[in-house]
Amino acid sequence: MSKSYLKIKLRRPFYGSLLLLGIGLVCQPALSFELSFDVQGRLSFETQRFLDTGLYQQQTEYSLGTVFETELYAEPEIEGSYNWGVTFAPFYRHDVIDSSRTHGDIRKASIDWYGDSLELGFGWKQVFWGTTNTQNLVNVINPADGLEGGAGLGGTKLGLLMANALFFTDFGQVELYLMPVFREQDFAGEESRLRLGFRFEEDEARYEDGDEDRNLDVGIRWTHDIGDFTVGISYFKGTNRQPTFVPVFTQENLTLEQQLAFAQIEDQCSADPECTDAFVPILEAYFEANPSDLQAIEGGIAVRDLSNLALDQLIALAPLYETFGQAGIEVAWLVAGSTFTLEAIYREKGTDLRGNEGPYAAAVTGWEYGWSNLFDSVWDLRLIVEYHWDERGDIATSLFEDDLALIYFLNLNNLSNTAIILALFQDLTGGGTIMNLGTSYNLNSFWKLSFNATMFFSDEESPLLETVLEEFAGQDFFDEGLSTDEVRENLDNDILLGDFKDEDFIQVQLEYFW
């Protein structure tokens, strides 16, 4: 690296020698070094207002939060060259209404070494793989931050401990990642909106691999620009970043007697990890203790009330972290102003919503184009059209199995850099629609104001939990017994969206950047 390059990196030089003056006086020769230093970040004040009352009693109608995140980056000069970089990026959200959204994370805390054709790194990092815009199927290195919006579309990710190596060759770039410790996803709490009726039992997380979260995960990717094409091939072997879910019965909210009964049943069926038929005696015990609830069932009281009373307290979803291999390809083709993109994966093993295990393929492909000077103005419009496909159809664990995404991005190119975005996700077979309309303004060089409205449209008449309960209500489940399989048999991803149809919300965000 040449001398001038080093100078260029000195965006914000300061002199460590001053800091180390005391040491320098003691140690001879005096220590002195220079540091290239950069800091970026934002403070965001945001509120969400939900237009309808939540399906579940505990849910709030708005959130009011503050997000702080920053990234500090330094390159110390060591023996005359800048070959080392240190990154530290903390994140913190505090929500005064929905306390389950309050959380912090170390997004990045890493040290990197830069060589001419090789880079090595270690620490908590974030890695992006992918080329499409509305979903990144190949982007599997970091787990999603389940408490931050947009995670399902590859948005905010958790930091993850890893060692990595990057090789730069004339035939492309090769990335290698070793991840010794897995991080479980966090789930929205009972107060939170935009959740399924079922509670998530994070404590009941199951791993397919015996090493649980200490399994060594491996990722490797090759990318290269070949003419107008950019191609990538990746392979990942390890723990599923987006868990599938196993319905479980939980003891929380039960009386002491019921918990004792539960423990006995658990003991009896300990060979069966899901302990499926345990539900009946638990329910019997529950109704024995709460006869009015039983009368409510027999008297045909609204199922929603019942769900608040009983069943949603008993059935929960436990995350199941499978171990699998996934091969992915990425292609971007730039031609005549258009960009065509494709991401496709083949996963050696996956569990669908009904609990069937097996290999499957999924893909996203799309087209992106921009128009400048719209209607003789300075407006720019970008259009992204992407199609999502999942071999498993509507029992895929993803909402997008046969869906079309349309994104319109309009930039007015005015002083406040006004941007308007309209995003539509249309399920072509199930009929559900997700719509997002947003706009943002730069108030000055540091402050930015954004408004966002998100709406869910679904033909499903009742939410998932009610659907499941209705299924149960028609049965004499005291005699026939009830297992979690019956929950699963009624699942498809259209029902999942049905749970969101009363979750339309407006978000206002004021951000300060540095």
Partner: protein, 268 residues
């Protein structure tokens, strides 16, 4: 296609190798020769670095600021590489645009955009030339106007005396249909070897914008640059002032600065 970020990288500057033109030249030949010498001189550096502040004003006089740092490097084969690191507004901080411009007129530029929020390096299409650069009155093509000399025909219109200084007026008629302009008109001070202003005419042949180049400074080795460029839109009344904080030339910028795999590191 060499779409050199010329105001950024080379400056809209004329240094004539033969300052006194042949009076027998046809208007077309004289126009072309002026532009050829400009083109040759534009590329007379190895590398350059600058910080630019853009002040955008609307008709009412309200302002907003954009700031960026730019590195450029001329390759021996005539290709140009440039890296723009955005600094202001602060929400664009950490965003970087890398451009490889090719001397071969048939080859499109390669461009990559680094988006720090995702950590994504996105290869983008370089064809949206006539769009506004960061909301300013400069379009992408304005920033690369002195690109390939063969991309337009030229005609010398005559001389004009402004404030006692004589300027040659040259018109340029682009071949490329993707440009937003039907013609450009340049005022060139041949003696002082500088461009004073340039007018841009839209597709309907109406005056669209005028660019004024001011406050020329000499950085040695033939590197003379305007420190202030004002672009005034005649149709909307909006204007953009581009101020260079400094210029550095031939500092020996490492090739690694222009490697797409380094964008994440360089943008910080």
């Amino acid at each position: 296609m060499k779409k050199l970020i010329s105001i950024v990288a080379a400056g809209a500057l004329l240094i004539s190798a033969s300052p006194y033109a042949n009076v027998d030249e046809s208007p077309e030949a004289r126009g072309r020769s002026l532009m050829e010498r400009l083109d040759a001189r534009d590329t007379d550096f190895d590398d350059a670095e600058t910080i630019q502040l853009m002040i955008l004003r609307n008709r009412q006089g309200a302002e907003s600021r954009k700031k960026m740092k730019t590195f450029s490097k001329m390759e021996e084969n005539g290709d140009v590489k440039s890296l723009i690191i955005f600094q202001e507004p602060a929400d664009t901080k950490g965003t970087a645009l890398l451009q490889h411009g090719y001397d071969d007129a048939n080859k499109d530029d390669d461009m990559w955009l680094f988006l720090p929020a995702l950590g994504k390096t996105k290869r983008i299409s370089g064809s949206a030339q006539s769009g506004s650069f960061m909301g300013s009155e400069f379009s992408y093509e304005d920033l690369s106007m002195q690109g390939n000399i063969d991309e337009a025909d030229y005609k010398w219109l005559g001389e004009e005396v402004i404030d006692g200084v004589t300027y040659d007026i040259v018109e340029a008629y682009p071949h490329d249909t993707s440009t937003g302009y039907s013609k450009r008109k340049l005022w060139i001070n041949e003696e002082l070897e500088r461009m004073k202003k340039m007018e841009f005419y839209d597709r309907k042949k109406t005056l669209l914008k005028t660019m004024y180049l001011e406050d020329y400074q000499d950085f040695g080795d033939g590197n003379v640059r305007p420190m202030k460029i004002l672009m005034v839109n005649a149709q909307t009344g909006k204007e953009t002032e581009m101020l260079n904080e400094y210029w550095k030339f031939d500092e020996g910028i490492d090739d690694k600065m222009f490697n797409k795999s380094q964008l994440k590191r360089l943008a910080r």
